[in-house]
């Protein structure tokens, strides 16, 4: 390339009218070490471009960031499995509750059944049986109460 061509290219360059190919030609010219005196003005600019384009990322290794991704995906899986366990637990609890309440409803209806007894002796026998049951449960309750009271008294003694 002669000086006139370079001048034309430089003019186009300053006016941002050059294409990539023409800019490459200019870079080659300025990097050739044979720059004419009249073109020396722009040399520092192209020298800086050359210097900056030689910077490389040799100390950076491109690799899959496994640690970060694995950690994230593991957390996600844990959350998912815990959610499943919690859902099963809730369903199981709900099932137990429903079954139990159904059974209880059945017992209540049994207890609530009223038996009509015509014979007075038979009625007396039922009454005695019922009173015996009440008395037995009352004794159970009072025994537990007296044991509890004894414990309370013992604690007072310790104090």
């Amino acid at each position: 390339m002669n000086n006139t061509e370079i001048n034309n290219l430089l003019n186009k360059y300053w006016n941002a009218e050059t294409n990539i190919h023409e800019e490459l030609k200019l870079k080659e010219y300025y990097n050739s070490g044979k720059v004419a005196e009249e073109h020396q003005d722009a040399a520092p600019l192209f020298q800086i471009f050359k210097m900056e384009s030689s910077i490389n990322a040799s100390n950076i290794e491109i690799k899959a960031p496994t640690e970060t991704l694995a950690r994230e995906s593991r957390v996600y899986q844990l959350n998912k499995s815990w959610r499943a366990i919690a859902a099963v637990f809730v369903i199981a609890l709900a099932s137990i509750f429903v079954v139990k309440s159904t059974l209880n409803t059945g017992n209540t209806s049994k207890k609530a059944t009223i038996v009509n007894v015509e014979d007075p002796e038979e009625a007396l026998a039922y009454t005695k049986m019922a009173l015996a049951m009440v008395s037995k449960n009352y004794r159970k309750g009072s025994d537990k109460l007296s044991i509890g009271m004894e414990n309370v008294n013992k604690m007072n003694i310790i104090k």
Binding site: Y13, W14, N15, A16, I20, E23, L24, D41, A42, P44, L45, Q47, I48, F49, E52, S53, I55, N56, A57, N59, I60, I62, K63, A64, P65, T68, L69
Partner: protein, 168 residues
């Protein structure tokens, strides 16, 4: 997309990504940090990565955004990108000064003093050799705006060089 394919793709333009990052954030530690963050982003998106038309331009855009985030975090505010040139300024390196190349350090100073958009456009065009279309994709401006900014930046250099010559 397979890990090896992504690694191969990134290896092809990691220097460009690093230089661009360095140009914006202004120091190698932040620039390396940005590249690590970029890798995480790429791998998170690895399923769709193959569908990206221009992966290199996409990576450059993500790098630019990560750099802006980094500068914002560093500054602790949300100023406009045009204000960032003061932070990302890089002074002329000691070897340049040692070589007593006044004009070289003057040109470098001028490069650093350009508005952020012009600085990025000069870098992408004159150092990395991207087309106007690619630059517009990376920076998010129209091709016309890219050309106008490039014209203004180069005119500043032309004037500066003329001024330097008159002083001699």
């Amino acid at each position: 997309m397979r890990n090896e394919t992504i690694i191969k793709a990134l290896e092809g333009y990691k220097d460009k990504l690093y230089r661009f990052s360095l140009k914006i954030v202004g120091n190698q530690f932040d620039a390396e940090d940005v590249l690590q963050e970029l890798m995480i982003k790429v791998w998170k998106k690895r399923e769709d990565f193959a569908q990206i038309e221009n992966q290199e331009a996409w990576c450059m855009t993500v790098t630019r955004n990560l750099c802006i985030d980094k500068i914002r975090k560093r500054k602790g505010d949300t100023k406009d990108i045009s204000d960032y040139h003061t932070i990302s300024d890089r002074s002329p390196t000691p070897d340049i000064i040692a070589e007593d190349k006044e004009s070289l350090s003057m040109v470098m100073k001028l490069l650093n003093e350009l508005p952020q958009n012009q600085k990025e456009i000069i870098h992408l065009r004159d150092i990395e050799g991207y087309t106007y279309k690619e630059i517009s994709e990376i920076i998010g401006l129209t091709e016309e705006q890219v050309k106008v900014n490039l014209f203004r930046a180069r005119q500043k250099f032309k004037e500066k060089i003329k001024h330097l010559n008159l002083q001699r």
